[in-house]
């Protein structure tokens, strides 16, 4: 049954992609199609990596509420951007070659994320309250540091920074799309490669170890893949904290399967469908009158609240 539903999701993505590419196609067809295709690839890879990374992250944390964003990843992104603007200045920041800026941001975010998740998971993921609180405290610290640094910026620098820290799917540097797609495709393949071991990790540390899994080393590898996926997509479009939560929750609810070989592609497809359908709606129906990222965050935030309130005590 799960495989059939996976197929339906795949078909849905194909239909949504077709609509995104061909709906309301006027004027210089090839030029517009080229622009739309680049944006479509971005939407699909960002949505897919958010969904897949969140499923992996939640399995490691043995908790369906957590996402890399909830434990402070967005704060980390804002902090890194603020520091870059503060140190380099807004004009140098804007003049940075896209590839170099993306590379530096991805490297910093991956490094920070591995460190952050390493701290959070060091004593195991059993104490969920401790994990969330540690993440929130680290996030608050990073936001406070970024806030302090932002006070040192002049208004024009601050405006540049604000633009850089809000997720946007409208302006994507086409130079980056190829390398991002390849990186995320490889990372997604790695996720599928570790899927069977994640099935065992879902039982928790002790049980996984008694079933013969080299748990600590495996968790480090899995967290590195998650960090890379989140860092790459965040560096490309900005932080979308709750997209992964929506995709992972829907994947669990709809696929009704414990196998990560099904859950990971399922969440990836749902994440991609959400972004493609959402962007199509905003571009073609609302004519860019609102931001998709803000709506995704609003819906995801509500879902997070519902999941927290419905969680048995």
């Amino acid at each position: 049954m799960a495989e059939r539903r996976l197929f339906i999701l795949g078909a849905l993505l194909v239909v949504a992609s077709g609509m995104f590419l061909f709906w309301n196609l006027r004027g210089p067809t090839w030029f517009i199609l080229n622009l739309r295709a680049e944006k479509l690839v971005t939407l699909v890879v960002v949505g897919a990596s958010a969904g897949a990374a969140t499923v992996v992250f939640q399995t490691i944390a043995t908790n369906r509420l957590l996402t890399p964003g909830v434990v402070g990843f967005d704060a980390l992104f804002v902090f890194v951007q603020t520091m870059l603007v503060l140190i380099l200045g807004s004009s140098a920041f804007l003049d940075l070659p896209a590839m170099a800026k993306f590379g530096v941001e991805t490297a910093l975010l991956t490094l920070f994320a591995v460190g952050l998740f390493g701290i959070l998971f060091r004593k195991g993921a059993g104490d969920i309250i401790r994990m969330i609180l540690t993440g929130v405290i680290i996030g608050t610290l990073l936001r406070a540091l970024a806030g302090f640094a932002q006070r040192l910026l002049d208004p024009s620098e601050f405006a540049v920074l604000q633009q850089a820290t809000i997720a946007s799917f409208n302006v994507i540097d086409d130079e980056l799309i190829g390398i991002v797609s390849i990186s995320l495709f490889v990372a997604f393949g790695l996720c599928l490669g570790i899927a069977r071991k994640l099935d065992v990790v879902a039982f928790g540390r002790d049980k996984a170890r008694t079933l013969g899994l080299g748990y600590d080393r495996f968790i480090l590898i899995a967290l590195s893949i998650v960090s890379l996926m989140v860092a790459v997509s965040t560096a490309l479009v900005g932080p979308v904290v709750f997209l992964g939560l929506i995709a992972a929750s829907l994947a669990h609810a709809w696929l009704k399967d414990h196998r990560h070989l099904v859950l990971i592609p399922g969440a990836a497809l749902i994440g991609a469908v959400i972004l493609v359908v959402g962007q199509t709606t905003f571009e073609r129906v609302f004519a860019f009158q609102s931001s998709l990222a803000i709506v995704v965050e609003f819906v995801g935030g509500l879902l997070f609240l519902i999941l927290v309130l419905r969680r048995p005590s």
Partner: protein, 248 residues
């Protein structure tokens, strides 16, 4: 044989196990008994290789436990923890199949299917095989987790309080099924001394982090030893041919 040699374990400055040395022979049911906080579960965790002792050594059939890799260890020892991680959407068959993981690493072969079928049959789970584990009663669920350990086909099965919160019907059911496993040694932490008296072949008594006494059940479950172990007057009585431990 499991040989525990001079094991010491402390956490946060508190000594949990002190100079524990003992030998556990192969075969039958071995009960670890003792008062609350005596170190029974900690001892089982050390034997399972989940906790690294501060000093000392555990050998299983002559092999140093901590020299074995995770996978090699999982082929010698199966361990059922007190709190089972609940994985949603898992059927009983899926759960039992995870017991084979040290052998198949995610890709089931013919011998895995045979071992799963054997475990389901031995623990009378065939009719429940396709049921979601979350829909089972506490007793059925525990039986499924024990079957998962059994499917691991290890010579040693370590069970940490497998009877906790089970009613007498399920308690007897699980113990009788464990007693029928001729090719395994079952090492389990027990609180119910009457169960130990009726089903255990060998008993390890632990008190204040030390081994109080070790020996065959008939020598260990006596009024004098139990009174000394628990610091409360206890007596072994015979009721309808069964042993019962009662307060004096």
């Amino acid at each position: 044989m499991i040989r525990v040699n001079d094991v010491n374990l402390s956490r946060g400055g508190v000594e949990i196990l002190r100079q524990v040395s003992l030998e556990i022979p192969k075969g039958g049911i071995v009960a670890i008994v003792g008062p609350n906080g005596a170190g029974k579960s900690s001892l089982l965790h050390v034997i399972a290789g989940l906790v690294q002792p501060d000093s000392g050594q555990v050998t299983i059939d002559g092999q140093d436990l901590h020299q074995l890799g995770e996978q090699a260890r999982a082929r010698v020892l199966a361990f059922l923890t007190q709190n089972q991680g609940a994985v949603p959407r898992l059927t009983v068959r899926d759960l039992v199949a995870f017991g084979r993981w040290p052998h198949h690493r995610g890709r089931l072969k013919a011998e895995d299917h045979a071992a799963i079928a054997d475990a389901l049959s031995r623990f009378d789970l065939e009719t429940l095989a396709q049921r979601d584990i979350e829909t089972l009663s506490g007793g059925q669920k525990q039986r499924a987790f024990v079957a998962m350990c059994y499917a691991q086909t290890t010579p040693w099965m370590l069970l940490d309080e497998p009877l906790a919160a089970l009613d007498p019907k399920y308690t007897r059911d699980i113990m009788e099924r464990l007693q029928g496993l001729e090719d395994r040694t079952v090492l389990l932490v027990l609180h119910d001394l009457s169960i130990a008296a009726n089903y255990a072949d060998w008993v390890v008594a632990v008190k204040d982090g030390c081994v109080h006494s070790v020996g065959p059940c008939q020598d260990m479950i006596t009024s004098e030893r139990l009174t000394d172990l628990y610091d409360v007057p206890l007596e072994l009585a015979e009721v309808n041919g069964k042993s019962a431990v009662i307060w004096r």
